[in-house]
Amino acid sequence: MRAFICGLVLVAVSAWAQPILIGFQGPLTGPWAVEGDWALKSVQIAVEIVNARGGILGRPIQLVVEDDGGTPKGGTLAAQKLIAAGVKFVVGTYGSMVCMPSSELYEEEGVLHINYGCTRVDLSARGFGYYFRTSGRDDSQARFFVEYVIPLFGAKRIAVMHDNTAYALGVAEDVLRYLKPLLDAGEVQLVYYDAIMPGERDHTPALTALRDANPDIWYYTGYYPEWALLLRQGKDLGLDWKKIKAVGSNACPISETVKIAGLDAVVGAMITQEPLPAFLVEKYPLAKEFVAAYEAKFGPIHDSPWATYAADAIFTLAFAIEATKSLDPAVVARYLRSGKVVGEGITGPLSFSPEGDRLGVPYMLLICDEKGESARFDPAVHGHLVGL
């Protein structure tokens, strides 16, 4: 009997000290390695913050990191590796087609999976019980562009350009869907709708066609490497971002674009964006703490929303496990699905629909100012950059 009690105490003590494993799956190599690196650093900072506050249920979090290389195959291997490591909660990944097969493995194994950078709409339409995302969906951004950005500039002639990747095409099609009532009513005109080839170096033909279409506003829904080339070559071609309002998608971080294209080509170009950490500090105390900790350790804060969502996935897990007092993914998942606000993260209140979608993701319009910095677009301050 005494041995039994001793054993119990031992088990209790070891459980006390034992860390809770949380997996991180992201593209640390491959074409999206920048995003993977930022996300990993953000997640590490989030873990440090949670651990400094005493961890979850008194136990510290320990991260298990796996690289998926940004490919579907790499995604399944990384997921298997995490599952084999005994991880019950996973944060990841970036890219919808990478996420799809991995999330299926997590679902089968009953591993709670919180996605941070996959916005494809039907990811949450598969009837999964363990799938969540802290980011928005493709159509939330498109809706923001049509219902806020177009009226802001009173644009009549609309150009939409994508690069045929899953993500860019999804946004472009959603723009068309939300634009349809306006087009039918004859209020606006779609003067350009086409795709460019990702990886190509010379986009002059597409830009010439764009110039000839003479749009008021030009929305590019693809990624930053092409966006930077488009801006550079467009500038060289004589396009003027005061006449054609150039708006990129949220996959076009301004700092990276400036690095590739040079400041003169990017000034006045805008992007539609989930709120960046730098703009969240005024509003949410946790964001302030997060940015301070990040900058103390890794230098200036990144301007990727996805990495911020990755950090928020950690906070979501911490809040939900703490609230349910359970390490059973099924219990935690049920709690998250209730639609209750589980806590206030870096990007605001964290709550989820029964399908696992994040509820209420706000957007904003950012502009590259004369110093090459991202600034929240304010007509009074930045009007001269876009010819207002």
Binding site: L28, A33, K73, Q80, I83, M97, A166, L169
Partner: protein, 326 residues
Amino acid sequence: MNLVRLRNFAAHKPVRVALFFLVFGFLVSFPFWASRYWVDVGFYVGLYALLGLGLNVILGEVGLFNLGHAAFWAIGAYTTAILNVRFGLPTLALLPISALVAAGCAWLVSSPIIHLRGDYLCIVTIALGEIVRLVLINNPGGLTGGPNGVVGIARPAFLGHVIRTPMDFYFLVWAVVAVCALALRQLQRSRIGRAWNYIREDEIAAESMGVDVRALKLLAFVLGAALAGLAGNIFAAKMRMVSPDSFTFMESCLMFCIVLLGGMGSVPGTIVGAALVVLFPEVFRPVAQYRLLFFGLALAATMYFRPGGLWPRRRAVEFLVERPGR
């Protein structure tokens, strides 16, 4: 010299039989003691071995530079995906159909380019790989789903047993690899195999000796593509979705590496090459950001120290070294 001695030792029949059973036993028992993750890695070794065997017929046996092999893999995978998702055909029954469709496409596209030699063929096949990928992205007839691909492929079932776990897929792919490897070994020793090697060594001499170069080259292309089609079917069944990002130029390069690393025209060499190409990035996971650097270094080092590949075809050596009596 030691390697030659080792090779001669391995040439003894009892040694070879023992070696064979050792490898066979290892492969069969592997999923029973390895973790799910390693079983999945084993699956990908098998998958790339299958792709490598296909390319080995084209590149290794006949010496045709094909840098667009991923195209046939993609065709196989999309055939399975489209026929299963849109027409409800069972996934496993599509295994031969995928191979046939890939082979048919290979026949169609390689017929007009088969007379090209060396680098010229290489360039055309690169273009071929890219064209197939771009066609898939452009979603012809709403069939391929564009960049989003086709999702929701049913799990294959074999005699009522649904193939779903990593172990199931491991056995599926290695069973196919085993059958193909044995068949290819037999083919190597046949008239066709010898004619292929003849073309590789000296095309003009082969033609003047009455070898039908064009037909045999086409046969190699068609056969290699069929194997890639098989791999496509298994890959689609495993991922349960196909998207164009899986069939990039990089994948074609990897297959090329597999054949060169293993040794041109060598069946066991190709399997060793596949194991290396899949295992290396996995083993170097702890240094995530640098693992591709190590992979590249390993490739360069192998090519420097073993330019003929890790396990080259024996035939070439037989002329050089006197073999001890068996």
